[in-house]
Amino acid sequence: MKRSSSKTLRAAALAALAVSCASPGLAPALAQSVAGPVTYQLDPDHTFATFEVRHFGTSTLRGRIGPVMGEVTLDRAARTGDVRLRIPVTSVSTGVRALDARLKQPDLLATAEYPEAYFVATRFSFDAAGGVKEVRGEFTLRGASQPLSLVARSFACRHDERLKREVCGGDFEGDLKRHDFGATFGEPFVGDDVHLVIQVEAFAP
């Protein structure tokens, strides 16, 4: 959905874009800028991390953190990449203020001492069309670092007519055990397994 009201010109441009985005039309978009590394800036309106954890073996408790900041460099011809994400854990939002405050305590996210989590990765896998398939790197939470793999559930690049530049993005998912990072409060009633769902969009220069 758009964030601001539509204008006729933009609507026309978006209509053209929608046609180019339709089904297999994404492959040519991916092929557009394949020469050399391109550094993309994260789009703060479309880049959020959500965690999911089971509550008493029953429903899934979710929290949103973001916008996530940082940059991504892709060289789709060389099939290499580099990503550095800064995840502001102080922004954690579950919809319940008391829970947000509890999550920030030293035995969970410890936001006073560690206001940001980080994901740094240089091991990228690409699919045949040049789309990012998997990113393997290191996740740092509460000052503790562990290997983490984020798998793309969707990934595509498109030319944004309004911004006059390429935008790439997708949904990336990974799993961690919170005790590996020392965030153990509430176990076993609240699960140790944490599923991360990261929405990312980023602008080319």
Binding site: L14, A15, R62, R158
Partner: protein
Amino acid sequence: MKKTSLLAVVAALGFASAAFAEPATYAIEPSHSFATFEITHFGTSTNRGRFNKTSGTVTVDKAAKTGSLDVTVDTTSLDTGTAAFTKHLSSEEILNTAANPTAHLVANKFTFNGDKVTEIAGTLTLNGKTNPVVLKAQNYNCYNSPMIKREVCGGDFDTTIVRSQYGVTYGLNYGFPDNVHLVIQVEAVKQ
């Protein structure tokens, strides 16, 4: 004295049997009950928004394998993490939350596998329009909460709605999808 304690025992037994009588009524627990929508953004990432206020009741008869549900979502409690996006979604051209401040889910067809709810069928009223809806249950479970000393039942429920059926058509002509995935976390406390 003896008489009194006997009466107390009888009364306690009476309450106990009342507590196990079916159907049981459960009140939605708002701090563990949230509706989230997911919609694809130009074929790249998924935009999400969460409604922060949900209320209502659920009745479940585990023996008869029947149930009913009446849940109200406060659409003005929408929270996407981006103020401008939340404002636009709430505006007249999309959810029109000023005119339609609630979404309403009513269901009286529960499907069970053993004592677990697997599916709920009913109607969803959104943006003032009502359509049939079927929610699939995942992780349905009941537990005894050590904090409130009562049974809590819940799980994750999801469905995909076609937003144009609710008159929410903004952006369909330039590529925003008609399908919206709803993911609903629910926990409800036995009354």
